[in-house]
């Protein structure tokens, strides 16, 4: 049973068509990677799923997006509920200029969850991203003093109290060095047990390493979608092959 389904999805920025007839199904508890050259629409597609594109003026969407059996673009969709269900990790680590603790507790503050369990929830959240052991004595240091890798982990931890089912990751490692990247990838493997992950990445090796399924996008189209191993070893389309063998991109 697919957790995200798009049907004939078109997206326009004014007169520019950024997504063309996208039909995609994302499976639960799997990592789905979206690859493709800059400007191919992969980040735009990611931001369709939690409706972050709504913030941009002049965006128009046709077609259907269904997440957990609910029509995301139905006029009565509760955006708050949707975004609680579909969390997002951004390209640059972007913790708030607050302490580690306050960052993780932000979701609790917003959603008015019980204050007495706050310490417990913060601990649990930091454990889920494997930061607890490093930071348990530094909960009140400014988040921006952490290393970039720790900041990105913290941004993932910040999502945990909101209890999402789906994590959207928009090039989460592009600001990190190779070792930090590897460690975030390990974290993604571990998170897969409990979350569905959709990751946009520039880095084809990363897609090949972490994902179960991969979609290749070009000029707003989803050229090919399938099992990661198949996409990288025996792509069905010539354009996919050209891209993954590095002939363009």
């Amino acid at each position: 049973m697919s957790i995200i389904i798009t049907k004939d999805l078109n997206l326009y920025y004014g007169n520019f068509q950024a997504l063309r007839e996208i039909n995609l199904e994302v499976q639960p508890n799997k990592i789905t990677a979206l690859i493709g050259p800059s400007g191919c629409g992969k980040s735009t597609l990611l931001r369709v799923f939690n409706r972050m594109n709504d913030l941009i003026e002049g965006v128009r969407i046709e077609g259907k997006v269904i997440i957990e059996d609910e029509d995301v673009y139905h006029p009565k969709t509760d955006l708050i509920k949707l975004r609680k269900k579909v969390g997002m990790v951004f390209q640059r680590p972007n913790p708030f200029p607050l302490s580690v603790f306050e960052n993780v507790a932000f979701g609790l503050k917003i959603h008015g969850l019980s204050r007495e369990r706050i310490n417990e929830v913060v601990e649990e959240s930091l454990k889920r991203v494997m930061l607890w052991d490093d930071l348990k004595d530094k909960l009140h240091t400014p988040a921006l003093k952490l290393s970039l890798e720790q900041q990105q982990r913290l941004c993932i931890a910040r999502l945990m109290p909101v209890k999402p089912d789906i994590l959207l990751m928009d090039e989460p490692c592009s600001a990190l060095d190779p070792i930090a990247t590897q460690r975030i990838e390990e974290l993604m493997h571990w998170l897969k047990q409990n979350y569905t992950i959709v990751i946009v990445t520039h880095n084809m090796q990363q897609a090949a390493r972490v994902s179960d399924e991969t979609g290749f996008m070009l000029l707003g189209e989803l050229v090919e979608f399938g099992m990661t191993e198949q996409i990288f070893t025996t792509p069905a389309k010539r354009r996919t092959e050209e891209y993954i063998t590095g002939r363009f991109g």
Partner: protein
């Protein structure tokens, strides 16, 4: 003509820049020094804690100090909420269209209207039409209106300086727009907003024209008991003794000016300390 070497050009430019900075500092330093030198002699316990006597030539200026405090407090109470909320609306909610641009232009132009015009406006609206009479209420509201453009502009700038990514993260975590503004945008904008408030306080305490017709009394040795009372105020008192009272000592005038400076500086330091505390709490 032979071109100057970059090194020499750099030296000339640097000297010009330093000179300009120096020239900008000289008047400030001179004003403060002259007022202190001429006014310090007048400052004593009696001057600060009693009412004027003998046709305002002797005694103290306490009623004017109290009056200025009332007016500044009133102006802040009225102008800050309205100004901050208007700025939030304009920066966070209003669509970016010609109407918003027009409103913005109007606000910027309001800041340029001379203060005596605000005084006349306050006289017409608050004193006469709304029948507040010459009163603290009318004076404080006139000062508040005069200061709205400053507060709105400072707040808008402070809001615009909060990185867009903070808003995005907050919304992506399922916060509503208002929660995002309240929990994320405003806390990060408060230092800038406080700067606007500092400017407001200085102007509200120092302006004479807006309070001339709306509240300020020439000589009123008592203290106000309600917001519908008139009060004396420091700038008005300074104007009055400098122009209307013959044979008054120079030191009384400079002393009054020094107290006015001191009051503004005192109130502003409180705000500056709060701002510094908040900046430290913000963990950049």
């Amino acid at each position: 003509m032979k071109k100057l070497s970059p090194k020499i050009t750099q030296k000339i430019v640097f000297s010009l820049l330093s000179l300009a900075t120096l020239l900008a500092m000289v008047p400030v330093v001179l004003i403060v020094l002259i007022i202190i030198k001429n006014g310090l002699g007048a400052i004593n316990w009696e001057f600060l804690t009693t009412a004027p006597r003998n046709g305002m030539r002797e005694g103290g200026i306490l009623p004017a100090i109290v009056g200025t405090f009332c007016l500044v407090t009133g102006a802040v109470v009225f102008a800050v909420p309205v100004g901050v909320f208007a700025a939030i609306y304009l920066n966070e909610y209003a669509k970016k269209n010609w109407l918003t641009r027009l409103i913005r232009l109007a606000i910027i132009n309001l800041a340029g209207v001379s203060s005596v015009v605000y005084g006349l406006f306050g006289l017409g609206l608050f004193v006469i039409f709304l029948k507040f009479g010459a009163s603290i209420l009318a004076g404080a509201m006139t000062l508040a209106i005069m200061n709205l453009p400053v507060i709105i502009t400072a707040t808008r700038e402070a809001l615009a300086n909060v990185p867009q990514s903070f808003r995005e993260v907050s919304l992506s975590l399922g916060a509503s727009k208002w929660q995002t503004i309240w929990h994320v945008v405003l806390p990060n904008a408060i230092p800038g907003i406080l700067t606007g408030i500092i400017l407001e306080i200085s102007r509200a305490a120092g302006e004479t024209a807006p309070i001339l017709f709306t509240v300020a009394a020439f000589y009123l040795p008592g203290f106000p008991t309600s917001v519908f009372d008139q009060v004396m105020a420091l700038p008005m008192h300074l104007y009055a003794i400098s122009t209307q009272i013959p044979n008054i000592g120079l030191d009384v005038r400079y002393g009054t000016a020094l107290v006015l400076l001191g009051v503004v500086l005192g109130v502003n330091s409180v705000v500056i300390i709060i701002r510094a505390r908040l900046r430290r709490r913000q963990k950049w």
